[in-house]
């Protein structure tokens, strides 16, 4: 597992950056805790896949790209979408299925799209968005731009054929795509060693002659640094990369698998929770004297206010009118 050389590349961690990172991770956490409550109250329906525990990946990675860069993800994308800069109000309204949602309530939790921040969506078919990421990379190159595409996916997508097809095309055509695998060690109830003959995901990069690297997904700065280096390479030589962020999902696969404890032990879950990326980062900032206890408290208050406002906005937002059923089936 390659070493994360934070010091070398990442700009020194100042209070401003530290606050931003802590704020974003905490916002995602609080937002989803609220979403879980709303799901329990029946305000949100369908599937709801929480990102809780993996926040360092989305926040660290997004902090390494520009606003005009692109991101695309699977159905566990609340964190990626919020980190990219989407308005929590519109995201919550989308989860509520309301007109004020990102997609007028027609997409829901698994299908968040936000063109205003170049978020290319949440996609429900495992592995299906990897070719889309390659396509976005192709378009960037075709248009002569210097943006990059950040493609988040789970360990469960690796055995799918589209993983292989996308990696090969991106490497063959030198597309500026960073394939960021969030290896939380389980695809629903399937532990990675029951899904892959070779479980070091980052090593798959070798067979495509692509840069591959593993990073501690619970260390937001390590993720930030690792992605920064990949982004720099992608912008400069239009070279793709495969990054494996080792992380863990604290909750069940979805709200329908609340405990998520059939396939993993309580002990394992508890042990992993000790590596909560938010606590780890807050402690580090305190230790290094970058953020005071007051700063941390302030962030906590801010995010919980924002989450509350998001819920209030969603509640107040009207249902989409009946005509919306037929809107957007076709663009005329």
């Amino acid at each position: 597992m390659a070493q994360a050389k934070t010091i070398v590349l990442a700009p020194r961690l100042d209070a401003e950056l530290a606050r931003r990172i802590l704020y974003q991770m905490s916002l995602i956490r609080r937002f989803e805790e609220k979403a879980a409550e709303m799901y329990a109250l029946g305000k949100i329906g369908g599937f709801l896949h929480l990102y809780i525990g993996q926040e360092a990946v989305a926040v660290g990675a997004t902090s390494a790209i520009r606003p005009d860069d692109y991101a695309v993800s699977s159905y566990r994308e609340h964190g990626h979408c919020l980190a990219k800069g989407s308005d929590p109000k519109k995201v919550m309204a989308e989860l509520f299925g309301r007109m004020g949602g990102l997609s007028k309530g027609k997409g829901g939790s698994m299908h968040l799209f936000d063109k205003s921040v170049n978020f290319l969506g949440g996609h429900g078919i495992v592995g299906a968005h990897l070719p889309l990421a390659a396509g976005a990379g192709f378009a960037i190159k075709y248009q002569g731009g210097d943006q990059v595409v950040l493609c988040y996916f789970g360990d469960g997508a690796v055995p799918e054929g589209e993983f292989h097809e996308s990696m090969n095309l991106a490497a063959l055509w030198k597309l500026p795509v960073i394939f960021l695998c969030e290896n939380n060690r389980y695809a629903m109830g399937t532990a990675i060693h029951r899904a892959l003959a070779q479980t070091e995901v980052w090593r798959f990069a070798e067979t495509y002659g692509m840069h591959g690297e593993a990073v501690d997904g619970m260390d937001v700065l390590a993720v930030r640094d690792c992605v920064m280096r990949a982004v720099e390479r992608a912008r400069r030589d239009k070279a793709p990369a495969l990054i494996e962020a080792r992380t863990y999902r604290f909750r069940g696969h979805s709200m329908r698998d609340p405990a998520g404890a059939v396939y993993r032990t309580k002990e394992e879950v508890e042990r992993e929770k000790l590596r909560d990326p938010i606590t780890l980062f807050a402690e580090r900032c305190a230790k290094d004297g970058i953020l005071s206890e007051a700063d941390v408290k302030a962030v906590e208050k801010d995010v919980s206010d924002v989450a509350d406002e998001a819920v209030a906005f969603a509640e107040a937002s009207p249902e989409p009118p009946p005509e919306e059923l037929f809107q957007d089936v076709y663009r005329d």
Partner: protein
């Protein structure tokens, strides 16, 4: 007879067929350790072990192809699609390998394969996870397609599907797994593929429906009975081969037909059923066959829009009244 859920009936069918034939095995995502994403395979791993209950990585085309290859060597695989939405990734294996192998090999390699799992509209799962998938299969020569409406049918038809020497696409429904009903516990009980059933006798109009649409039709039939409209409800149960005789003879009796379909209407199952009725019973029809289908849009997430997407009781009743000129 025993009262059990649709889910339990499927589980019972799997157990009985695995007990009966050692060549039968179950393979799919989360079918083992997790006891099935929808618990249809509950307890099977414990009862039959890892040799016959196989959890797979997420690679639908790959493990469906494994099923086809295993069938070529004489095994009788039951492949679970966690939901049929994902079968689209395995469609090449189902259409070009499974459905055509017997034909291309001149009969040397029949493919006794069952691909089963839940399909059709499901609560607020939106465009990619809530759609009628049978449309990708029933057009294909070489495949049989089953949609079991009741717990008893679920058991009897799944057993026949597993015993059938051809590839059978068996599409259950997430929304029906908890439905309870009487189910014969006789291990020799089976329901033949290709036979429709009349779920309610009636004299004024024939309503053809399956799965959730049939339950809705039953409610509507009761309401309309109060208005003096007597509905006969026919459930094809197997979409391919379709039991046209049962449907047409019912229409010959009632002189009117309404076909229900949960999925988008354009070029769906309803078109075929309506066409067959019209061709076979044209002179017996007192009104053109009416189709009541899902709207031609992807499935929206928003609850209120979702409700508008699939045929409502009101729309169904209106269509029935229309063909009865009421």
């Amino acid at each position: 007879m025993a009262i059990m859920t649709y889910r339990e009936a499927l589980n019972m069918a799997l157990r009985e067929e695995m007990d009966r034939d050692p060549r039968v095995f179950v393979m799919g995502e989360e079918v083992g350790l997790y006891d099935g994403a929808y618990k249809v395979t509950q307890g099977l791993l414990k009862a039959y072990g890892e040799r016959r209950i196989i959890d797979t990585p997420i690679c639908e085309s790959g493990f469906t192809g494994v099923g086809v290859g295993a069938a070529m060597l004489g095994l009788r695989p039951v492949i679970e699609m966690m939901t049929f939405n994902f079968s689209i990734l395995a469609l090449d294996q189902i259409v070009n390998s499974a459905a055509k192998m017997c034909y291309m090999s001149g009969g040397q390699y029949p493919i006794p394969l069952v691909v089963r799992g839940p399909g059709g509209p499901a609560a607020q799962l939106a465009a990619q996870h809530s759609q009628s998938m049978e449309t990708y299969f029933y057009h294909v020569p070489g495949l049989k397609v089953v949609r079991p409406t009741t717990p008893a049918d679920a058991k009897g038809l799944l057993k026949s599907a597993i015993r059938d020497d051809n590839p059978v696409i068996f599409i259950e429904a997430e929304t029906l797994y908890a439905v309870k009903g009487e189910v014969p516990d006789d291990p020799d009980f089976t329901i033949p593929l290709g036979k429709a059933i009349i779920r309610r006798e009636g004299t004024d109009v024939t309503v053809i429906a399956y799965m959730g649409m049939m339950y809705r039709a039953m409610e509507v039939a009761e309401e309309l009975a109060k208005e003096g409209i007597s509905c006969e409800l026919v459930d094809p149960r197997t979409l391919r081969p379709m039991d046209t005789d049962t449907i047409v003879s019912s229409v010959r009796k009632t002189h009117r037909a309404v076909v229900l379909e949960a999925g988008a209407g354009f070029a769906g199952m309803g078109s075929e059923i309506a066409s067959e009725i019209t061709e076979e019973a044209f002179d017996d029809l007192d009104a053109p066959v009416e189709r009541v289908t899902g709207e031609n849009a992807p499935m929206p997430y928003a609850k209120n829009l979702e409700r508008l997407k699939t045929p409502s009781r009101e729309k169904i009743a209106a269509a029935i009244r229309k063909v009865c000129y009421r």
